[in-house]
């Protein structure tokens, strides 16, 4: 027999609650559910978790060579080193040795063949972290080096692919080119990007009493980590439990690439029977894991006298590194976004996933979308220069509009009016044309410093393009004090997903946010989950949680109708009460009381929720379909000032208008827009991955790889969320996904830099500016323009 708790205590829990609703902020914008833990240092990340005192620490030995045959791996000295307890190579893996997430190709530890600098060759478990790392240095590694392929374009030409190329086509593109009044073509290199999540890859594996493990990991995809560990160990999935409390940043870098480390730790934990901690030192992390794909893009596009595209041909070549990983879907997404917000007309878009001897490039916010958009944004600027028009005029003429509203892959663009409204509102609010005039005047009289201005839009497709991933589960419990626990398949990496999902449940149950708690994401609570990726975390998991909450709510309504003899149709939950009637006739039952009564009435207070996104489909054989449930939109205006003698520049003002449908949490959404923009700006400006001729990464730490700092945030930075435009699809409360789309708003910075540069040749030249547009690249671009004779416009296809 059990007694029920005394409800005179509020059910929200003790004062240590994580929630803090700042008085100054609007009520609908609760702060991050871990904010107080973050600022007090109490939020636990992976390496902060207490572990048994005899826990071992792991370090991995990485290949110094990009390509070759491993002829000798002598680890005797490693085994003898102080503190070393276990050393493993590929032969020690009992189950599967390949941890490729979708397609095979990622050996957990190298076999005979070495395929990139930084590839794990062996792993060492020792009594402390430094001992393990020092032992690694004692290995004798001999590799018979072979010439490495480090050039993605050459690889594409040699048909060295990780997956076959893919083509999307609409109409007769050859004819469109042949009949066009003007044709331009250009090539654009778009650099990669290191995730630089502040918390590096890390995990903690605890052997359990039978044949399994419990693994804490910093991963966006616990279900996949579970699957791969089970396969590596050769045990059933139910022997492996994976838990993710929070990540210190993910950005895609922990979607597939957190798994290998968890597999190694799990294996070492099983072998030694001890807890095993693992984390990659920053340098190893940067060398061993994949990054945003660098892309080599080409366009050849025809347009009319107004600059409106009639059609053409676009090719995007992604540098995938040595294995498929997620590259097929990433190159696909680059293709899906090669139009950005513009109708391409009759066009062919080809994507080539090139294989190189680099780490396997992987998911990163935008997932190929940003790289794809760059090529059409380049074309927009180029057309404007060619015709002597303002780039904004050309962009506006090309935006999807009724009659030109079907993409090259056959999806109908629904919210064309919204796209136009965003652009024209931002054009007005940012005072674009007055500033354009002022800048022209300034540039005419300033010999060294030049200003640039650009407005670029974003249209980003929401949904996983792998249809089966568009599903989510949730598990909701209500305890007899009225407190609510929700678990779902999504992981928290700073994006505020748990806060949003908690809000959804609170809203469905008419409770205060503090009455709902989310703990860690665990594979034994919600199984077979999808990665938290593709901006879909809240869309999918929020819907699943809502579904669970609605089930319990219906049960409570049924119960209340009978138990209290209420009119079933008039019952509602609000402000912590079950309510029927209005005014004089209103009856209220306090939530806790209701729950206790329902418990005594033997009502199930637990539910699993589920959601699968409707409507979507895509046929890879025809390259046609509706891969996206909806599009998220936005636009940005950036202004820059460039020192054309040194290549130094500043982003001086940025105005953003972004579409999140009906926002679930304006504070969190604004944070995603601002953070995404700055991260995108880093990608296009200062974040330069540099490799030497042998395939070794030179920029392998924050001393040489420069992400934006506080001084790079524009002094004038104004972000607005578009209001009054609910999602046209029945998404979660008509909200829209916000994780990735704002990243691409930063293309306006790059375009503004090109604008400033082109002033050096009276806006008649189309400057080449590969990315990242470091001061070095900007200086060389300026130098080239200064050399341009007055009338020549280079690289133009004569007609």
């Amino acid at each position: 027999m059990r007694t029920l708790t005394d409800l005179s205590r509020p059910p929200a829990g003790p004062e240590t609650t994580d929630r803090h609703t700042a008085p100054a902020e609007p009520r609908q914008a609760p702060t991050h559910d871990s904010a107080t833990l973050h600022v007090t240092g109490r939020a636990r990340y992976l390496d902060d978790q207490p572990a048994p005192v005899d826990a071992l620490h792991v370090a991995v030995g990485l290949s110094p060579t990009a390509r070759g045959r491993l002829t000798q791996l002598n680890l005797d000295a490693v085994r003898r080193a102080p503190g070393v307890v276990d050393v493993i190579t590929v032969v020690d893996i009992p189950g599967k040795t390949d941890v490729g997430p979708v397609f095979p190709g990622d050996p957990l530890l190298a076999d005979a063949e070495v395929r990139y600098v930084g590839q794990p060759l062996f792993a060492v478990a020792a009594t402390d972290f430094k001992a393990a790392r020092r032992a690694v240095a004692l290995a004798e590694v001999e590799i018979d080096a072979q010439p490495a392929q480090l050039d993605a374009v050459a690889a594409a030409e040699a048909e060295e692919w990780v997956r076959p190329p893919h083509v999307q086509q609409s109409g007769n593109w050859q004819q469109a080119l042949a009949g066009a009044a003007h044709v331009l073509e250009a090539e654009q290199f778009v650099g990669g990007q290191e995730h630089f999540y502040l918390e590096g890859q890390a995990c903690l594996a605890l052997p359990n009493e039978d044949d399994g493990v419990i693994v804490h990991t910093s991963s966006q995809h616990p279900s996949e980590v579970q699957k791969l560990i089970a396969e590596v160990l050769g045990v059933a999935f139910h022997a492996v439990t994976v838990e993710v409390r929070r990540m210190g940043g993910g950005f895609g870098g922990k979607e597939t690439q957190a798994a290998p480390w968890a597999c190694l730790a799990a294996l070492l934990a099983r072998r030694t029977g001890r807890a095993v901690r693992m984390r990659l030192p920053r340098g190893d992390d940067m060398r061993a894991t994949g990054k945003r794909h660098p892309f080599h893009n080409r366009y050849r596009l025809g347009f009319d006298a107004q600059g409106v595209l009639t059609g053409g041909d676009i090719t995007v070549i992604g540098d995938c590194g040595h294995s498929p990983d997620l590259s097929e879907a990433i190159v696909d997404r680059a293709m899906f976004h090669a139009d950005n917000a513009y109708s391409l007309g009759d066009a062919r878009v080809t994507g080539i996933p090139a294989r190189t001897h680099n780490p396997s490039n992987t998911a990163f916010r935008g997932f190929g979308g940003p790289q794809g958009m760059m090529i059409v944004e380049r074309a927009m600027d180029d057309i404007a220069r060619h015709l002597g028009e303002d780039p904004l005029t050309i962009r506006k003429r090309n935006l999807y509009r009724p009659g030109r509203d079907v993409t090259h892959y056959g999806q109908h663009v629904e919210q064309t009016a919204l796209l136009h409204e965003i652009v024209s509102r931002l054009e007005t609010d940012s005072d674009y044309w007055a500033r354009r005039d002022a800048i022209r005047t300034y540039n005419a009289s300033s010999p060294v410093l030049k200003k640039g201005l650009a407005l670029t839009p974003v249209k980003f497709g929401i949904s996983f393009t792998a249809k089966h991933l568009n599903q989510a589960g949730a598990l909701l419990h209500i305890y007899t004090d009225g407190s609510v626990m929700i678990n779902h398949g999504g992981t928290e990496m700073g994006q505020g997903l748990h806060t949003k999902v908690g809000q959804v449940v609170a809203r469905e149950l008419g409770l205060d946010n503090s009455a709902v708690r989310i703990s860690a994401t665990r594979t034994d609570k919600v199984p077979n989950t999808s990665p938290t990726a593709a901006s879909s975390g809240a869309d999918l998991n929020g819907m699943a949680a809502r579904n669970a909450a609605m089930q319990v709510r219906e049960r409570l309504f049924d119960f209340a109708a009978e138990h209290y003899q209420f009119d079933r149709e008039a019952i509602r939950l609000e402000n912590g009460d079950l309510v029927v009637g209005h005014g004089e006739n209103e009856h209220r039952i306090a939530w806790g009381e209701l729950i206790q009564a329902a418990y005594l009435g033997r009502v199930s207070l637990s539910a699993t929720g589920f959601y699968a996104t409707p409507l979507i489909h895509y046929d890879r054989t025809t390259g046609q379909g509706r891969p996206f449930y909806y599009y998220a939109h936005g636009a940005a205006v950036s202004e820059v000032i460039v020192d054309t003698l040194s290549g130094e520049y500043r982003v001086t003002r940025v105005d953003i208008l972004h579409d999140v449908g009906d926002s679930l949490n304006p504070a969190i959404d604004t944070g995603q827009v601002e953070g995404g923009f700055i991260q995108g700006m880093g990608w296009l400006t200062s974040e330069e991955l540099k490799w030497d001729a042998t395939g070794r990464l030179l920029s392998d730490g924050p001393a040489t790889y420069k992400i934006p700092t506080i001084g790079d945030t524009p002094p004038d930075f104004c972000v607005s969320l578009l209001e009054g435009h609910p999602n046209s699809q029945a998404s979660l409360y008509r909200s829209k996904a916000v994780g990735e789309p704002p990243f691409m708003l930063a293309i306006s910075v790059w375009s503004a830099l090109r604008d400033a540069l082109s002033s050096l040749a009276d806006y008649r030249v189309r400057p080449a500016l590969d990315t990242p547009a470091t001061p070095e690249r900007v200086l060389f671009a300026a130098q080239d323009l200064r050399r341009v004779p007055e009338t020549k416009t280079p690289a133009e296809t004569p007609r």
């Binding site: 502040l198 950005f251 920053r282 060294v448 953070g675 030179l698 924050p702 700092t709």
Partner: protein, 501 residues
Amino acid sequence: MVISACAVRASDHNDNPMDTPMIEFYLNGEAQRCASLAPETSILELLRNELQRTGTKEGCASGDCGACTVAIGEPGRGGRLDYHSTNACITPAHQLQGRHLVTVEGLARGDALHPVQAAMVECHASQCGFCTPGIVMSLFTLHERQRQSPVALDDACLEATLGGNLCRCTGYRPIQKAARHMADQPDVRPPWAEDPRLDDNVAALGDTLEATGYAIPNTLETLHALRRQYPTARLVAGATDLWLEATQRLEAFETLIDVSRVTELQAIDETPDGWWIGASVTYARLEPLLDAHYPAFARLLRRLGSAQIRNRGTLGGNIANASPIGDTPPILLALDAHLALEGPNGARTLPLDAFFLDYKRTALEPGEFIRAIFLPRPEHDQHLEVWKLSKRREDDISAVLGAFAWREENGCLHDVHLAFGGMDATPRRAQATEAALEGHPPDMATFDAARQALARDFQPLDDVRGSAAYRRLAAANLLERLRLTIDHDATQEVCLDAYAH
């Protein structure tokens, strides 16, 4: 090797001294004693591995990200503790001797958040939260300073405070807002701030230490004695360079002699001709002097490293390091600085340009060290410009740094001193270029000749920070910038204001 366990006891500092010398310090108001730490132990390793204080994070272990930022309270004037920020990952644990270490765990009073923390929550300034402890600690030092003497929290001030704290999630806008709103929060003081004896207790622990493998002398005499006793020991000052050998190359130091507290090396002595600046004077301490006399040099300091680095890094360390991309050597070369060296064979002075022999090789004899740097007083009509080019404006190492000193007399350039970093294996003067300018009017023809001379002066290398071609072009363009700067008829700006600091 394995770090032996730290014998840590929270006890009053003056009871029962043990045989092994201990590092004695305060952590968030509580006395701590630690013995048997390997010399290369960092504050971060001490906190996380030995003391189980995991609030302070490791993001890079190289001083670049700021996730590990802590505050160190140092007995200052008037017996009060002055707090500055530092990167725990590259600060030697032994440097805690006689200091008060404040970490993110030490700010809140129970559930009442410190104003910095409350502002961060209110402004939604954390997303993943991993950078947050470091940001809170940098803001804490700012908040402490604001309590003493408030200044306007403009962009420049926030950059100076937070330029060394990377955040990958927020884009910094909410963090800026939080900084500006910390004054609006209830004035919750950390629990230890109410201990009236804390400052005295910390001071009473004493400045010096002679632990196994790590010695901190505070006089020149003991420094000499220690050098005789441990002839192979390496010197450490701010450790902002040396510690990378420990964290990146896993070096185990046998013995370290810490010069950062030697009184004579900390002095700034003014003479009629200039200033003798002790080798252990930090960048932060140098700033007021340079502000007053060499504003262009002072502006460069603001772009050298981050607050955390400037609080610890020393002028002597920057010179002894002899890196081709160290920021102060080219400026000091252009200003004709010289060095006072001391060693087993006595003392000598040496012009700075005789000090750098080759890549990371100096004229220091075995056992010799830099005692002080002489900075000549500027001539009344002397001009100085210092321009640093780097991929990122804040907290980045130079690709090229040019320092230009000259006078103008009767329309001609005189006493032209040009020195560059990043253009050769050592920082050095551009002799041919200087000759092309010396005695000539600053016109196009003169500068054309100078540009050509510069190409003869340097054959720079390609590296991760820039290609040889870029360095050559950029350095030559700095000459053009110089010409435009001198050109009295030019009315337009020729350099971005933000890059001037």
